[in-house]
Each structure stands twice: as C-alpha cells, then as structure tokens.
C-alpha cells in the first residue's frame, strides 16, 4: 500500500535531511536475534557510518529495535518503553517472530504479530537476519524518513484506541505512565 505523504515546508525538508543521518537505536533483545547486532556495530559492518548508534535509555532513542519473540510479559515492558521515547520514533521488527510468531507460532504465551500492539515502520524478515540485512533495513528506513513516509509513530497518537484495545485483549487492564491522548493534543500531532 502506497502511503500518503503529507506536505512539508522547506525547513522541515532541510531538517529531515540532517536528522536522518542521526538515528539512535534502543535494542530490546528478548530472543536469540541479539547475537547479530554486535557484528553490525563493530568493525566488520560498522553501522556508525550511517550515524546509527546503540543507546541505552528510551528517552534518548529514536529507533526501537525489537529482536525476536515477544512474550506477554515482555510485550508489556516494550509498550512502557515505547511510550517513554520521544517522537519522532520508529519501531523496527527484527526476525520472523515479530511478523507472524515464527517458530513460536503456536505458543500460548507469545504474541503473533507486533503491529497489532505498536506501530511498526519496518520488518526485517529472516530467522535470523544477517548483519547485511540489518544494514539494508536501516538504509531503507533512512530512505523512507527522507521521503517522509516513515511516520507510523503518528498512527499511535491518531489510532490510540485501536492499539489500546488490542493491548487490553492480551494483557488485561493496565495503565501506562504516559497520557498519549493528552500528549497528542499538547504537541499538536493529531
């Protein structure tokens, strides 16, 4: 599906050109996929060439990289983490587990598809994706940010009811610490 690109003025375009070169990544490593990240960061593949760096706190991060399967317990933490990040922010699903459950497809405790619970910008298919695939994915993300197409984070503010309903179905009643609707109004995102 081709996304509708919202009109941007000159300043926004200039800043997008600068900002796409600096993406800080918070990797949420629940499963086995995390093992592919050290080679991506270090000498062999070196993703810092593109300005992508690992960061340790959600407040500073721009990309939430979710590697591997999400059980119900970890999904809750991922949602709490995601809501602490400052917009614009991007979610990248890493590995087949985030797409359709992967090899855990009939487990009673893992979720099948991540985009029911969080707005995902990009999936990296594979079990597990090699560092080349990760670099390729980040380059695609940078390209989409440049074109103004990577704005799934706005969906979370606009369609919060949909995501909240899905989260409620699997996690039961739970409250996060961020008032998404008030934030959307305050920062003029809706």
């Amino acid at each position: 599906m081709e996304k509708q690109v919202t009109a941007r003025n000159v300043w926004e375009r200039i800043f997008t050109k600068l900002n796409k070169r600096s993406l800080w990544m918070l990797h949420y490593c629940t499963g086995c996929g995390a093992i592919e990240l050290p080679p991506t960061m270090t000498a062999r593949f070196d993703m810092e060439r593109f300005g992508i760096m690992p960061m340790v706190t959600p407040r500073q991060a721009d990309i939430l990289l979710i590697t591997g399967y999400l059980s119900l317990k970890t999904l809750k933490r991922v949602i709490l983490t995601y809501e602490q990040m400052q917009a614009p922010k991007w979610v990248v699903g890493f590995g087949s587990c985030t797409i359709n459950g992967g090899m855990y497809w009939n487990s009673y405790i893992t979720i099948k598809s991540l985009d029911q619970y969080l707005p995902v910008d990009l999936y990296i298919a594979g079990c597990m994706p090699r560092p080349e695939a990760i670099i390729e994915a980040f380059n695609t993300l940078i390209k989409r940010i440049d074109e103004g197409k990577a704005d799934a984070w706005k969906d979370y503010y606009r369609n919060y009811d949909f995501y909240k309903e899905n989260q409620r179905k699997v996690l039961g009643e739970f409250e996060t610490y961020v008032d998404i609707k008030a934030d959307a109004k305050r920062f003029g995102i809706v």
Binding site: F15, L18, N19, R21, S22, L23, T42, A43, D46, E48, R49, G51, M55, V56, T57, R59, Q60, D62, Q84, M85, Q86, A87, P88, D183, F187, I189
Partner: protein, 296 residues
Amino acid sequence: MSTVLWIILYPFIAFFIGIFFMGYSRKFNARVQRRIGPPIIQPLFDISKLMSKKTNISHGYMHDIAMLMLLGGTLLTLMFIPVPGFHYFSQYGDMLVIMYIILVPPLGMALGVGETANPNGSIGISRALMLLAGYDVPFTLSFIGMAILNHTTSLYKLIQIQQSGGIATWGIVTNPFLAAAALIALQGMMSEKPFEVMIAPHEIATGPMTEMGGKYLGIMFIQHAINIFIELTIFTSLFLGGALNWVELIVKQFIVFTIVLSVNVVFGRYRVDDAVKFMWKIPVPLAIIGILFVIF
C-alpha cells in the same frame, strides 16, 4: 564595538571548534577499532535531530532551570577565557574566578538530575561530584605552582609571560611536573577513560543524561562542545604558552586532545573510589614536587 561583536561571536566559534573536536573524537575511536566511523560533522546531525524532536518530557521547573544553569554557567566561564583577539573580561576575572564559576554547570546538572528522580541519574551525578573532588585537587595545585612561578593569577598575563621567550618559557618546559599533573587531571576533567565513571553507559545508563531526551540532551551536547573548548584552552594557556593566533591555538588544542584520546581509547574504566585514589596518589604528589621545585 568589536568587543560586543566578539561577545556575540565567541560562543559560536567555541561551539564549532568543540563540535569539530567531538566529531574528531568519534572518528579517532572508530579508526583505532578499525571501523570507518561517522563523518566528522556527525555531532551537528545529532544536535539538529535532538533539537527538532516533536515531543518533550519535563519533570518540573528545576529540570528546566537546570538546563539554563548548565548552559549559562558554561557561557559565563567561556567569557573569562582569553583567546587571540578577545581578552576583554579576563582583565576583570583571573584564573581564580574561572575555577570558581566552572563549578556552576555540574551543580546545575546535579539540581536538574535530582528533580528527575532517576536512580541511575543520581548515581551518575554523585559519581561526577566525587570525581570532581579527585581531579580538582591536582589541577588547583598545578595552577598554584604556575601562579607562584610567574607571580600572577591572570591567565592573560600568564600567556604573555610564556610568549615572551619562545618555547623555553612555556610552562611545560619550566616545570614539567606541574604539566604532567595537570594533564592527568585534564583526563578526569573531560571525563574520558579511565575516568569515565560518571557516564558509564554499561552500568548506569549514561548517568546524568538518563532522563534527558530531545531538547534537554541537545542543550547538554552544546554545553559539552563548549566545555571541551574551555578545558583545552585552559590547559593550553597554562602550560603550552597560549597562542597568538587561532591556527596556533587550534593546533595546540588538537595535540593535547589527541593525547587525551589516545589514553581514552586503550583504557578500561576505574571504579569511582579507585579513580579518586589514583588522582590523589599520582598527580597530587607530582604537583607538590612541582611546587617545591618552584619555591626552592
């Protein structure tokens, strides 16, 4: 008129030189690790991104005011640092004033981080202040030595005295003990490894910056860039004879910074108590020996 122009332009010049050094530091680390590394203007991209974040989280008034204290204190310190072409304020405030107001930014940061109530942040800031007690003693001692040697506390006059007789009158030649002590203290001052305990991403999640996102972190980046310029200029003026033009200043800063980075890239991290012990065991005796040489 030119003074007013300098007051306006000076922070920007310091900022861009600091940005260059920040980018150089990342490139240097990358090359040592046999990576290609980010482009040299990567910090500019980072600051641009942080400043154009759409949402921001504030933890209260102190959190906001602390950022002003951080940047304001740094800019105030910068004004008292004499550079080629601008030493208007340094005739009103000598090195003692600089050493006094250079403590304002860390204290401002402590107040702001206290408001965010993040345990990692509190640990980080307590480590920062502890380390301050470590490196401030040798640095102050080596400055006292230079002041006794040259009979002045003014940074501008120190530069003039050192420039009068070429390399033979540079602080690093007339008293290498003091220079060595100050160089080790500088390593702690710039919180590079092995004294990186305040940031420590792997243990306390970047310490004071844990709760800072978006524009807050952007201001901290700008402050960090100017701070690099301040620290390198102080060391250059005290021991390397200052500079008569900007090219000379930048070359000298570049050499000092490369030494600091070379130590940074091969060392691990000291624990905070070990760092303070090290600071009081090695540089402090060095500085005292230097002062004894000056007096007798």
